[in-house]
Amino acid sequence: MSLFSDTLATSRFQPLSRILVCDVFSSGLNGWMSLMPNFTQAPNFDTRESVVVKHQWPPVMLSTATYRYPGTHGALSGAYSLKLSTRPVANRYEEMPAPGSLGHAIKRLSFHHLKRKRLQFEMWFAYTAEQDQVNGGYDLGGLSENSLRAFGVAFDLQEKGSRAFTGLRYVNSVNGQPHRKWQYIFPSEVSDAQWAYGTEGDWCKRGVDPLWYGRRYPDGRHDGFQYLPGGEQELCYNETDCKINWLYFRMLLDIENREYIELQAQDRIFDMGGLPIYSIPAYARIEGLLNPLIWVENDATRRVFFYVDSVMISQD
């Protein structure tokens, strides 16, 4: 790909020996798309009843990161990045996510090689809040970093007879208060009904879709995630919502033993050795599924934006 030389790829990224995905979004969407419910029900391709409204998540788009005052920010590797966004709606942290308060991007592939031990996700990303209104008359009332609640990266995978959600999220803000901590996907000891906000008969199982299932608590805890020990980190946000800095993220997993290995965010490496990945009995029709996911969630009634310049997924 002319946008991205091998030298640049291996300088910006640290891929394992077998590269599955090397997507630079200035060349297009590369198969990343919005997450939608399953349209499987009569009479008109309707969706199953669910406590979580899944059709309000906004579409992904190719963004120039264009703002009112500076104009176009562009991307790290060209003019365009993959943009996730939310609608200007939000519930309090401890409530179920409001319809449209999360934005997702997903790519869908499958395992192609039996010999696989490690799986790695890397990306260059940036995030900001919409510059739509100034809050109050106080100093820095026009800076809205704490309107972004969280962003994360996950794999939804099924192989060798079991399914697993594995990933990390950065909890930036809880009800407007800075939190700045990493959490990894692992469900608390709850029933399937508790997992689905106390709803009996919602078709989801504990451990599946932690992006929007799993009860949340006002101190930042979440039944779908656990705090990464020592996982406090201030990321580089810049000083105004219309200046974005591109940041590096890397998540390394041992999928043979279903364990996390490490997280790298910017220049810090967090040892995750031995933290388990939770497995669920296999679902029908999806053996071999390998779906990377990126998501963002707001913490205020304004849009927030998450930009991805490029993604590298590799295995060995």
Binding site: G28, L29, S34, M36, N44, D46, T47, H55, Q56, P58, P59, V60, M61, L62, S63, T64, T66, Y67, R68, T72, A79, Y80, K83, S85, R87, E130, Q131, D132, R303
Partner: protein, 111 residues
């Protein structure tokens, strides 16, 4: 090979009041079509119309001049637009007595 993206702006949602679609960045594309699929209509004298709007920042909007409708019946409708800069949305107006429309709105972009 040309670039193309079709993206949902609303999926099977029922509207009874005026609304605007999600701000969409389309700077890479030179042409766009907004498709509006009306899946269900109820109420008396229910009418839907939409105006294409453009923006320099995704926050402030002004009419581009292209209009879809007014329409009153189920089916697929569209409006074309080109030379729009970066940001695009539809400003949608609904009128009638207890109006309700179930809509599927998609933007189709091409370069």
């Amino acid at each position: 090979m040309r670039q193309f993206q079709a993206a949902h702006l609303e999926v099977k949602k029922t509207f009874s009041e005026d609304f605007q679609t999600h701000p969409f960045e389309a700077g890479w594309a030179s042409e766009a079509i907004f498709f509006v699929m009306v899946e269900n209509v109820s109420g008396e004298g229910t009418r839907f119309e939409a105006e294409v709007e453009i923006s320099h920042d995704g926050v402030h909007w002004t009419g581009e001049g292209s209009v879809l409708g007014p329409l009153e019946e189920k089916g697929l409708h569209f409006v074309r637009v080109s030379h729009f800069g970066n940001w695009l949305r539809l400003n949608c107006r609904i009128s009638g007595n207890r109006p309700a429309l179930q809509l599927l709105i998609q933007i189709a972009l091409k370069e």
